[in-house]
């Protein structure tokens, strides 16, 4: 399977990229468990008093 078209690239990723890269496969087995309550606390903190005003003001020109 596969002629390894991009094998060279796999061998030689830029150093700063490779050292910072994480494996999707490895991480997926150790999924990050998020603490919902703590996130909801943070959301309550940042959720603006004027959520209605914020939502109303968010008007965009249509694009593609």
């Amino acid at each position: 399977m596969g002629e390894r078209v991009f094998k060279q690239h796999d061998k030689e990723p830029p150093s700063s990229q490779s050292s910072d890269e994480e494996s999707a496969s490895n991480k997926s087995d150790n999924a990050i468990r998020v603490d919902l309550d703590s996130i909801l606390d943070q959301i309550d903190e940042v959720l603006e008093e004027n959520a209605e005003e914020f939502v109303k003001s968010y008007v965009q020109k249509g694009g593609q």
Binding site: E3, E21, A31, D44, V46, Y58, K61, Q64
Partner: protein, 502 residues
């Protein structure tokens, strides 16, 4: 033998200016120019040869359409090979073309980084009380949508009607893992309902099966035929049906699975019974079913859920990978795509909590539902829509996606590096490197050419018709060794890219 899956993502960002009455085109210009003014190197983008009205079905609709391209406005090529400009009243970042899915994820994330830097720099310039906020989303919740488009290199020989027929199945059903989630329902003419939750930002806006439009009557399969490379060999499939993802993992799955399915179509390995009877109806029904139970009518009269369709597609992809010698993807990436695709489908079937850290619509749903229950809010409470918008904010203090601990393929260091340096394995390497080294001698650049000013002689145009040339391996020593643009062009010769005198 499938075409190497060179791909990239272009994103129009949502823009909100508060504290002053400024039109969004001016605000978008402030964003792009703030970045440009602080950059070491950039070149002008030449959009004069673009033909967005060229239809893959063989006609040109220039006479019938008036596509708004603000090409006269700020329009730049960056040192990472990307295009950064103002389009349709939004700042838009088009990533450099990448010859790998992980690279494409990285350079999409680099776009977020560049937009965030732009926002910070623009806000430093604005008077007190005035500020601009940017959002990586696709809808304002009021019937206005803006795009996140994917691009894939495919074989020109393949009949377009066949590509369109088969890829539609994937476009309608892949949303179960790459939808970004949305509070409420819209139509292209306005708000339908502020309550409720659906899987995608974009499904509400698709009204046609196939067509050239991108700003109205949007089609599931877009027929724009602008290859930006050798038109005899290639097409560029311009995909407008997707959502902008905050999750790098979702972006990886979106690009990866779509690349594999396109290779299967090119190699005649697409399971031909997997055709949906009414795709426009189905894309909305699936988007509106967060339990993933909806059974859509297939062309053969049977009914299947999106998970069942995706599971069959994924199984066919595994069989294809085992028998095909050249899938257009590296073996390493192909294995990773197939593994994560299967794992995600399994976890969607069991409603696994693992997906909260991977899939945008599930992460967003978790906090929308959590907040609604905690404060016993009505379904139409503005706070729920505010959460939807804040999920996509580029302000790290506000961004709710940040708080969800989303799985990342790349960290901040790699992303910041990719904002300034091009990918290694496509012509974007040459583009980015010469922009960085000789920006003062570049008259303009676009995806498939660069025009150099070599002093007292006529302008020299370098043609880059082949996306897989101009790579680091082919051009690094030439660029490093060249002492001037004239020297560069002499060293380049005809071996890498042909050039012509203008």
């Amino acid at each position: 033998m499938a075409t190497p899956k060179v791909c990239g993502i272009e994103t129009e960002y949502g823009i909100l200016l508060s504290g002053a009455d400024v039109d969004p085109i001016t605000a978008s210009s402030l964003i792009v120019s703030a970045y440009k003014d602080s950059s070491w190197a950039f070149a002008s983008f030449d959009a004069s040869h673009e033909r967005p009205a060229q239809d893959a079905r063989g006609v040109n609709l220039d006479d019938y359409l008036d596509p708004v391209i603000d090409s006269k406005m700020i329009n730049t090529v960056l040192a990472n090979g990307a295009r950064y400009y103002v389009d349709h009243a939004h700042p838009e970042y088009s990533s450099p073309e990448c010859a790998g899915i992980r690279d494409a994820v990285l350079f999409d994330a680099a776009g977020e980084h560049i937009l965030r830097e732009s926002m910070n720099k623009a806000n430093e310039r604005l008077p007190e009380g005035v500020r601009i906020d940017l959002f990586k989303n696709n809808s304002d919740g009021k019937g206005n949508s803006y795009g996140c488009h994917e691009n894939y290199l495919i074989n020109r020989e393949m009949p377009f009607a066949q590509i369109a027929a088969f890829i539609t199945t994937h476009f309608v059903t892949r949303q179960i893992f790459c939808g970004a989630g949305k509070v409420g329902h819209e139509s292209p003419t306005g708000v339908v309902d502020q309550a409720g939750y659906q899987i995608t930002q974009r499904a509400d806006f698709f009204e046609e099966l196939i067509g050239l439009e991108t700003t109205m009557k949007r089609p599931i399969v877009n027929t724009r035929d602008e290859p930006h490379c050798d038109p005899q060999k290639y097409r560029r499939l311009h995909v407008i049906v997707g959502d902008a993802n905050m999750s790098q993992y979702a972006t990886f799955l979106k690009l990866g699975t779509t690349s594999v399915v396109l290779s299967m179509i090119e190699d005649g390995a697409f399971p031909k019974h997997l055709l949906i009877a009414h795709p426009i109806h189905a894309i909305k029904r699936i988007s509106n079913d967060i339990e993933l139970q909806e059974q859509v009518l297939m062309a053969d009269g049977s009914r299947m859920s999106a998970i069942q369709i995706q599971t069959e597609l994924c199984a066919a992809a595994h069989a294809y990978a085992e028998t095909c010698d050249d899938t257009g993807l590296s073996t390493v990436e192909l294995d990773e795509i197939l593994c994560e695709w299967q794992d995600t489908l399994d976890k969607l079937s069991t409603h696994s909590d693992d997906l909260v850290a991977k899939i945008d619509w599930i992460a967003k749903l978790r906090i929308v539902e959590g907040t609604r229950r905690r404060h016993s809010l009505r379904d139409s409470d503005s706070r729920l829509k505010a959460i939807d918008l804040m999920y996509h904010s580029l302000d790290p203090k506000v961004c709710l996606a940040n708080k969800m601990g989303l799985l990342s393929l790349y960290g901040d260091v790699a992303i910041a590096h990719a904002a300034l340096h091009p990918p290694d394995t496509t012509r974007a390497y040459f583009r980015g490197r010469v922009v960085d080294k000789w920006f003062g001698n570049i008259v303009n650049a676009n995806w498939d050419s660069i025009v150099f000013d070599v002093g007292n002689r006529p302008l020299q145009k370098v043609h880059m018709d082949e996306p897989l040339k101009g790579t680091r391996i082919l051009t690094e020593s030439i660029i490093d060794g060249a002492t001037s643009v004239e020297d560069l062009l002499a060293r380049l010769g005809e071996q890498v890219f042909p050039s012509s005198t203008l």
